[in-house]
């Protein structure tokens, strides 16, 4: 004679909802994501919300140069963040610079992601000697500090936005390759892959439909953090003078331009672009950090 206890009804949430609610539990993540989205919006909307296009020489007057924040320019608008040596309104320059910084960072990150993932997937799927060879290459690349590699690459390739992107991609692909190969390896060993192979599914189908989705989680995390790295790296290179040219001034170039004015007290020319850069990188990192905590199965309590 048994008593059946009523089984509690369990509400099943879609995985995305669960993920989203867990992600937003942390207020830091919320703030970071909001900041990031604001930055992206500002960058995209730059041409419409800035009083000046700093790269249209017709709009720039050197007599406006080196004005501290809050002063008025000749053309009549207020330069809230001051102006740089050539008379460019810093607020406009920063927003335009953000576009370039973000574009370069995301582009190189995206390309590196695709290339690296493909290589990683290939390595994991091919196995054997091919895999070992590829992974050795990856290890070699990773054991070298990114900044140095990028520096040398840029030294060889020369200046120019396309060459910078190439250099950044070459520096980053290895991270993606390693991450994807790691996840793919775990999946490859699972039985459902064997089952799929037995069923006669083509290799391509197996890789894309079965293995790839499971690699997405770590890939997303690495992707966010790497993008932040790419942006920082580009800024560093530009600051050193070997990055983007003056015609495509990213935030790094702006900071470099302002460096000489630092010691004479005209801090705003470097500091404001610096703050913008900082905000971007930190918010990306915070979001990426939170993503990692949420997507990492080992840390779930």
């Amino acid at each position: 004679m048994t008593d059946t206890a009523a089984a509690p009804v369990v509400k099943v949430q879609s995985p995305f909802r669960r993920f989203a609610s867990e992600f937003f539990e942390s207020w830091i993540a919320r703030v970071a994501l909001l900041t990031l989205l604001t930055i992206i919006f500002l960058a995209l909307a730059a041409p419409w919300i800035t009083p000046q296009n700093p790269y249209d020489l017709g709009q720039v007057d050197v007599l406006d140069g080196r004005l501290p924040p809050g002063e008025e320019a000749f053309a009549g608008y207020t330069m809230w963040l001051g102006s740089d040596g050539a008379g460019r309104d810093l607020y406009s320059a920063i927003l335009y610079g953000l576009r370039i910084s973000l574009a370069v960072g995301v582009a190189s990150g995206g390309i590196a992601l695709v290339i690296g993932s493909l290589i990683g997937l290939f390595a994991a799927y091919a196995g054997g000697r091919v895999e070992t060879l590829i992974m050795r290459l990856v290890d070699l690349q990773l054991s070298f500090p990114a900044a140095l590699t990028a520096l040398i690459l840029v030294a060889i390739l020369g200046k120019g936005i396309d060459k910078i992107i190439i250099a950044l991609v070459l520096v980053q692909w290895a991270y993606y390759a390693r991450t994807v190969r790691g996840s793919a390896l775990v999946e490859r060993r699972k039985e459902y892959i064997e089952a799929a192979t037995c069923l006669g599914l083509s290799h391509g189908r197996i890789v894309m439909r079965h293995i790839m989705p499971n690699c997405l989680a770590p890939l997303i995390v690495v992707g966010t953090v790497q993008t932040a790295h790419a942006i920082a790296l580009e800024a560093t290179l530009s600051f050193l003078g070997v990055g983007l040219p003056q015609t495509e001034p990213s935030l790094g170039v702006l900071i470099a331009n302002g460096y000489e004015y630092m010691l004479s007290g005209r801090y705003w020319i470097s500091v404001f672009p610096g703050l913008a850069l900082l905000l971007t990188i930190v918010s990306i990192n915070l979001v990426g950090d939170r993503l990692r905590d949420v997507l990492n199965p080992r840390l779930s309590r």
Binding site: I28, S143, F144, P145, A147, L148, L151, I152, V154, A155, I156, L157, G158, A228, A232, A235, T236, F239, L240, G241, V242, I255, Y259, M262, L263, G265, Y267, S270, V271, G274, L277, L278, I281, V282, N285, L286, D289
Partner: protein, 325 residues
């Protein structure tokens, strides 16, 4: 143990050779070397002379062979700009870089490990969470920006420390370093801190992760069951286990410290290898770039070897050549 070391040395030699090939062919193949050697308005005779003098008309592998021969005897070509042997220039500037990197590493360890340990042992305290948030800033902030801020705050506004340059040096135990003079130290503070900031975050996170994982292990519970004091548990049982991954990573990061010093040296006008490299790149002084790369590769290989040995010393499970009972 000696077999292990010899094997690693051989591996290292292979790596160095490989890198030399990559470096040489990379630098030579991309871009026309002649353009980097002569001024744009040189005439044909000048160009021809340069080609002959520098052996640029020889086939590539012959050039490489000369390169290797030269490298073995310490001659990596002369700097175009300074007219002196490239290797000599690099080695002359190396001590300054090493001093900077070493001080930065020390700072990272002294500041990072206690903070990380605290955050790992008491993860729910507000101060721990603050430490972790701060560490995110540490590795998010681009080094050069931090350097600028440091100069602005401590040198320009507060006037406490000098902004640029290296201080006086003194010799101690046969090593000449600015660590040993007061003036030297004051000049060393900011750049070393700048360099260290990046690594401090890394050390904090590593130590904290290690502490959090180690504290859940059974042997910690057993140590408590034996009635050992908390101090002994943390500083003997815990530390030894955490040190293994921390030392390994730190050792490898030392190499990146040297590399990142490029940025710090530029900002703080520190006369090290990095600053030399940047100038060389900007002015297309190829021999210096090559010499720098070779030295770096050598340094890396040596560091890796040292870290491997340290690791096997710290973790008895890994020691090679020991027989199990």
């Amino acid at each position: 143990m000696t077999v292990f070391v010899i094997r690693r040395l051989l591996q290292a030699a292979v790596v160095v050779l490989l890198m030399s090939m990559i470096v040489f062919f990379g630098v030579n193949v991309v871009g026309d070397p002649v353009d980097m050697l002569v001024s744009p308005d040189a005439d044909q005779a000048e160009i021809a002379r340069v080609i002959r003098d520098f052996g640029l008309d020889r086939p590539m592998y012959e050039q490489y062979w000369y390169f290797l021969k030269g490298a073995a005897s310490g001659d990596l070509g002369n700097s175009f700009i300074f007219g002196q042997p490239a290797l000599k220039l690099i080695l002359h500037h190396m001590p300054a870089t090493l001093e900077l990197a070493f001080t930065a590493l020390l700072m990272a360890i002294i500041l990072g490990i206690p903070l990380g340990l605290y955050a790992g042992l008491y993860p729910d305290r507000g101060s721990s969470k603050a430490i972790m948030a701060g560490s995110i800033f540490g590795f998010s902030l681009p080094t050069f920006w931090v350097g600028l801020m440091l100069i602005m705050i401590f040198a320009v506004w507060l006037g406490w420390l000098p902004a640029t340059g290296r201080g006086d040096t003194a010799t101690f135990l046969g090593i000449e370093a600015s660590l040993f003079t007061r003036d030297g130290l004051s000049h060393l503070m900011l750049p070393a801190l700048n360099l260290a900031l990046l690594k401090i975050s890394l050390v904090i996170r590593l130590t904290r992760a290690g502490a959090r994982e180690a504290i859940q292990q059974d042997y910690i519970k057993f140590a408590r069951a034996k009635g050992l004091s908390t101090g002994r548990i943390v500083f003997v049982h815990l530390m030894k286990n955490i040190m293994i991954p921390v030392v390994t990573v730190l050792g490898l990061e030392f190499g990146s410290l040297i590399a990142f010093s490029v940025v710090t040296e530029t900002i703080f006008a520190w006369p090290g290898m990095g600053k030399l490299l940047i100038e060389a790149i900007l002015q297309l002084d190829r021999p210096i770039v090559v010499a720098y790369l070779m030295i770096i590769v050598l340094l890396f290989v040596v560091i890796n070897l040292v870290v491997d040995i340290l690791y096997s010393l710290l973790d008895p499970r890994v020691r090679l050549g020991e027989q199990g009972a």
